[in-house]
């Protein structure tokens, strides 16, 4: 099987020759470029090259085509001022909306010209040029609840979920069109899987009822849009998500990225069989633990999920820049050893 066939088979619930390995990884690929960070992050071709090279070295079955936080670049393109770090990974957004009176300031961005959106489109195109049809390209867009938090301030959003639900709902709905525009740009550039990243919907922060009311409806709309564009929709929520996994069937996603805090056996029980689960090795352990522990964690995850549910072996969230290469290798080794057992 090719890498592409392997991942598509897993998503569809078909047999694979081995478990697909697709860690959620972008910044880590920096190690595979000789350019200084400041230059690299301004050069989509160079970024694409190091992402591709990293994927080749570790034999990833698909690649994440992205760099800095998708939240920041969309917020900037929508009119927010941003104090970006040199590597464009961390960046402080100045909220644009302070109340209902500011809603008119929210812009639907032009992905061909606004902020760093064009760089991201170019990155995907360049990566597609390198890998062609060999590997699927996954790429993130922010979720609507999370974007509302970027534009309004997350602390404010948390309070208005309770104090002014009507305003909050209307603000979240205003996020749909800009997110769809961003997704469409990425799809036209070559993204095969669009991952909606919605960390603010984590049950580490909000209740499952709040998720259903505030995040769910707009997630479903964006998911439908992505499918209408002909590509695969995926959902990522950091942290605790077990309480909402049952809702995901109605939302219609093909893939769900599961973080490490959710025990895989419980996730398997709660998830619809048609949902492909992707995860869930703890990125903190990946960064700090010895390779033997990572191998052991990986084997446990594989033994729990592979062959029992649609499954892509991965990290639970973004792999940190400071992760030792030996630990990623341990994940690969575990996947290969598990798959060899048959």
């Amino acid at each position: 099987m090719t890498h592409r066939e392997r991942v598509l088979a897993a998503i569809r619930g078909e047999a694979t020759d081995r478990v697909p390995f697709v860690p959620q990884l972008t910044y880590f690929a920096l190690e595979f470029s000789s350019l200084p960070e400041k230059e690299l992050v301004r050069d989509p071709g160079a970024m694409a090259a190091c992402i591709a090279e990293c994927g080749k070295q570790f034999d990833f079955d698909a690649l994440y085509a992205g760099w800095e936080s998708s939240f920041n670049i969309l917020a900037q393109a929508m009119g927010c001022r941003i104090k970006a770090s040199e590597d464009f990974i961390a960046g402080e957004i100045e909220p644009l909306v302070h109340g209902k009176e500011d809603m008119s300031a929210i812009r639907v961005p032009d992905p061909s010209s606004d902020g760093r959106l064009p760089v991201h489109g170019e990155l995907i195109k360049k990566l597609k040029d390198i890998v062609g049809e060999e590997k699927l390209l996954f790429s993130y867009v922010p979720g609507p609840l999370t974007m509302a938090g970027m534009l309004f301030g997350l602390n404010n959003l948390m309070k208005t979920l309770i104090l002014d639900p009507d305003f909050t709902r209307s603000l979240i709905e205003r996020m749909v069109e800009p997110i769809e525009v961003f997704a469409e740009m990425k799809i036209k550039a070559g993204a095969d899987v669009v991952v909606i990243a919605e960390p603010t919907a984590s049950c580490s922060l909000i209740s499952s009822d709040m998720f259903k009311t505030f995040s769910g409806p707009c997630l479903a709309r964006i998911r439908a849009f992505i499918e209408e564009c002909g590509v695969i929709p995926s959902l990522h929520i950091c942290g605790k998500t077990l309480p909402v996994i049952g809702q995901l069937k109605d939302l219609g996603f093909s893939i769900f990225e599961v973080d490490h805090v959710n025990p895989l056996p419980d996730v398997l029980d709660a998830a619809d069989p048609g949902l492909c689960l992707q995860g869930n090795i703890d990125p903190s352990r990946l960064a700090m633990a010895e390779k033997e522990e990572i191998y052991s964690l990986s084997m446990t995850a594989l033994e729990t999920a592979a062959g029992k549910h649609r499954f892509i072996f991965s990290s639970g969230c973004e792999v940190g820049k400071n992760t030792p290469a030996a630990n990623l290798e341990a994940m690969v080794r575990a996947r290969n050893d598990f798959s060899a057992k048959g």
């Binding site: 910044y27 770090s85 990974i89 961390a90 960046g91 402080e92 997350l154 602390n155 948390m158 309070k159 979920l161 309770i162 104090l163 049950c203 580490s204 922060l205 909000i206 209740s207 709040m210 950091c238 942290g239 990125p283 903190s284 990946l286 960064a287 700090m288 940190g320 820049k321 400071n322 992760t323």
Partner: protein, 215 residues
């Protein structure tokens, strides 16, 4: 006495129900009845928030509930404080410096921890986010801080927590301040590894941990 207990319980319940107007009215009623202001704060407002913390730990309440409640408590406490008799001021249980480490701009958890500690009787100085180690160090010295709470939400920035502890050791003031760490990727194991004095998983645990470090 029964009247006092009844009104303080009503304040608690109104707070748990996030009924801000009712809390405000009951606090006013309590003051009119000459219930001691410190009792209104401690046994009404703070007690209600403490119960909400327990409900949060059980998964019955979530971050938005705590944030709204904390704001109601802070507002009412600030209004009551000028009425406290001399010598009756809420005890200062220690000075806490809190901030998100350099390179990290997440602050939701850090803000809630700061608010809960302040309500819990600590003098909290919030240094904000993306705070360099040198700034933390300078303020530990100038404020004679008893506690330093360091928040990090990314695996790449949690290393700053280790750097901060090392800086304090190198400059021979490590034992002048208790260091607590928190944030999504942070664990007790990490805290032990880097020599922190405490680790808190959330804002409710942070207050309990600070109280434990006081002992």
């Amino acid at each position: 006495m029964d009247n006092q207990k009844e009104i303080l319980q009503k304040i608690e319940q109104a707070l748990i129900g996030l009924e801000e107007d009712r809390v405000d009215a009951l606090v006013k009623e309590a003051l009119d009845l000459q219930i001691p202001p410190l009792a209104i704060i401690n046994s009404g407002l703070v007690e209600g928030l403490r119960k909400m913390g327990a409900m949060f730990e059980k998964g019955e309440l979530f971050i938005p509930h705590l944030m709204v409640a904390a704001e109601i408590v802070e507002k009412n406490s600030d209004e009551i404080k000028p009425l406290l008799a001399t010598g009756e001021e809420k005890e200062n249980r220690g000075t806490v410096l809190i901030g998100t480490v350099e390179g990290d701009i997440h602050d939701l958890g850090k803000n809630l921890v700061g608010t809960m500690l302040s309500i819990g009787g600590f003098n909290v100085i919030d240094l904000g986010k993306d705070v360099p180690c040198e700034v933390f160090f300078n303020r530990v010295e100038s404020e004679k801080a008893n506690f330093l709470f360091l928040s990090a939400l990314m695996t790449t920035t949690m290393t700053r927590q280790e750097e901060m502890i090392q800086m304090l050791k190198d400059r021979n003031i490590r034992d002048h301040v208790k260091i607590a760490i928190g944030g999504a990727p942070v664990t007790m194991e990490w805290a032990d590894r880097i020599g922190a004095d405490g680790y808190a998983r959330d804002a409710v645990e942070a207050v309990k941990m600070a109280e434990k470090l006081l002992e």
